[in-house]
Symmetry: C2
Subunit: 437 residues, 2 copies
Amino acid sequence: MVPTPSPHERARVVVVGGGFGGLQAVKALADAPVDVTLIDRRNFHLFQPLVYQVATGALSPGEIAAPLRWVFRGQDNVRVLLAEVSEFDIDAREVVVLPAAPEVEPERIAYDTLIVAGGSAYSYFGHDEWRPHAPEVKSLESALEVRRRILQAFEAAEEVHDPARRAAWLTFVVVGAGPTGVEIAGQIAELARDTLPRDFRAMDSREARVLLVEQVDRVLTAFPESLSRRAEHSLLALGVTPMLGRRVVGIDADGVTLEHGDHTERIAARTAIWAAGVQASTLAAGLAETTGAELDRSGRVTVRPDLTLPGHPEVIALGDMVRVTDPNGEVMNLPGVAPVAMQQGRYAARVVRDRAEGRGSPPFRYHDKGNLATIGRAKAVADIRGLKLSGLLAWVTWLVVHLFYLVGFQNRVLVVIRWAISFITRGRGARLITGAD
Amino acid sequence: MVPTPSPHERARVVVVGGGFGGLQAVKALADAPVDVTLIDRRNFHLFQPLVYQVATGALSPGEIAAPLRWVFRGQDNVRVLLAEVSEFDIDAREVVVLPAAPEVEPERIAYDTLIVAGGSAYSYFGHDEWRPHAPEVKSLESALEVRRRILQAFEAAEEVHDPARRAAWLTFVVVGAGPTGVEIAGQIAELARDTLPRDFRAMDSREARVLLVEQVDRVLTAFPESLSRRAEHSLLALGVTPMLGRRVVGIDADGVTLEHGDHTERIAARTAIWAAGVQASTLAAGLAETTGAELDRSGRVTVRPDLTLPGHPEVIALGDMVRVTDPNGEVMNLPGVAPVAMQQGRYAARVVRDRAEGRGSPPFRYHDKGNLATIGRAKAVADIRGLKLSGLLAWVTWLVVHLFYLVGFQNRVLVVIRWAISFITRGRGARLITGAD
């Protein structure tokens, strides 16, 4: 079952997805006697944890993305292919792809080992009609759309004189109080309170209301409750109103409807941003369909302790799109965060190398180095192996960790400078309204 | 005729356009006893001379743009209005605008003095059907579209194995050998020769052909002929083929058709970029229509030696959209470059201040500090009051001048770092394929 290429032929590894997991898998195969094909729809690796800063004009898109070809320019055993996966042909051991380049025919890419790291997307809880009224902060394009809407809302508030209409333009609803929701809410509040007041003449941007809606009764549920409470205090101090225990039941162009116990309440808001509900990449369903593996409600495929699909040791899946079982067959409860994907990517490369050398691999183990979330200027929370930090120390830790994992020396330098200038001036340098209306 | 506001009311100055001319006019009115409304369709000042570097992934959009509200945040006599001008009501002394903010009604903005600095756009010589096949490098959006096409072409060349089809993907035609055309052609050649070779596996990006098509018989016609010749040598050394004395007679998705004397020749090329033919902003025609002023073939309105419209001393027009007459009634031959617009902007502010103090103003005089164009790494030409420079010295002059005029300390720092890293690594950090296909 385990692929055993002939001695004259190097094993072929196909990696789908150039996110955190895929990137680490390919890098860790640098010295392995294999030929790697990295397939991604986009020509760049995107540093997801900072996309929200693009949405508020703190950073420019190019500063948090690194072209995949550039990342692997010196790794000779890697071919980068810009393409969309249309089918896994598990029996033939081929991936069918539609290249992104214009007028190129679909291709079949043969593999000895397949590593799928397709990540996840936001789900609108089955309400796709909300999407146009509440864009998500995930891709660069959606972040630029959110940036356009936030800045346009302040422009409209400046020009509209009717108090109720102005208030609706100055009301921002963020749905979902996970790290991204908390971060974007904090950034909008800082934008309104610190960055924009001197920019406008007719209205006071400090009158903006930022509402952070969360279904459960606290923010940042991945953190211990004491840190959630501290984060809520920090949010309140920044001017964000956490609205906990509320379920979104409607979003349209004029506002958001919430359900709270028996009540429903309507919030007049012209800007809503979505940061809730995670759905695994549809590649997970593609794998489940052809291998018979289990799929959970979030669309994640269940993999074995070595990240392979049951009955298919030549197929590995990892990151946000999988649920890993432990050697006892129990599902491990791993968070959908970058460190898990990165460790799994490196682990997948290790499995490939172990096999090439005829060795088995121990099961995957996650080394939890801690959990970080930033809220605003000098405000963050950190839970590092039980050590609970908040405030400046947590914030500096957050800065250092994010700079360290940002890909590319140039990006690191540019982001440090943007942050330093923002910190000193309370400005945000990239607040351009671009793109179509 | 000259506006004389009542002593209790400050004169109202409306400035249309936040480009080089408008920006300088508003800045130079900082201490004048007037209320200024700056109207622009976009929320940022764009540093046009570097847009071509966005088109080749050397810089990110946010690094060459400065939000107008930010530029004037400390200038209390300025109101910024994001709006499109729909009409000049010269008799009523009002500008009719359609605000860019959503759902805001058209407004009438009254003025005592109107300053119009609408700039120019590329014209396709009456062939608007060429536009989709040969985007221009002018707005940020069009630059990102050019960037997408250039990078996609290399991606397609990597995937296409038929030599003729691959060659067409690796052929780039730039139309127009003015400064922008020369710069973009040089950048594409450097991208192909220096930046990308290690990124691809199946094809050699150095096989790319960059053709620079120009109707007249030399490049950079605004420069002395000896510098044009030196620029041509620099272009050849970079791998750009100047195709002089050739007229474009057709552009479609598969290539460009040129006329050369009695011959026509067809170039199979999947990427064409437009940098020829300047057409004044349609605001010039709007002014000519209502004031009876003369309009030339490029759509420029003719203004008096003090930049006012004939018979309307309260209306000033400047920059690329005007032709200025000297005190003898002769048309002055001023180039359509940023320094002219900037000096005219400051001059317009002076006219406003002189009038407020009851003084007349001397006619506008252009102080020509010289002409600069860059071609590539350490390659540029400069004509500074008859002093002809080329090579490294001209290039350093170009760098210093462009950094000096770039708006915003943050942008200067970021651009310097991008340039330094590009110079050392021959890389281009922002080569992302973004936007819709």
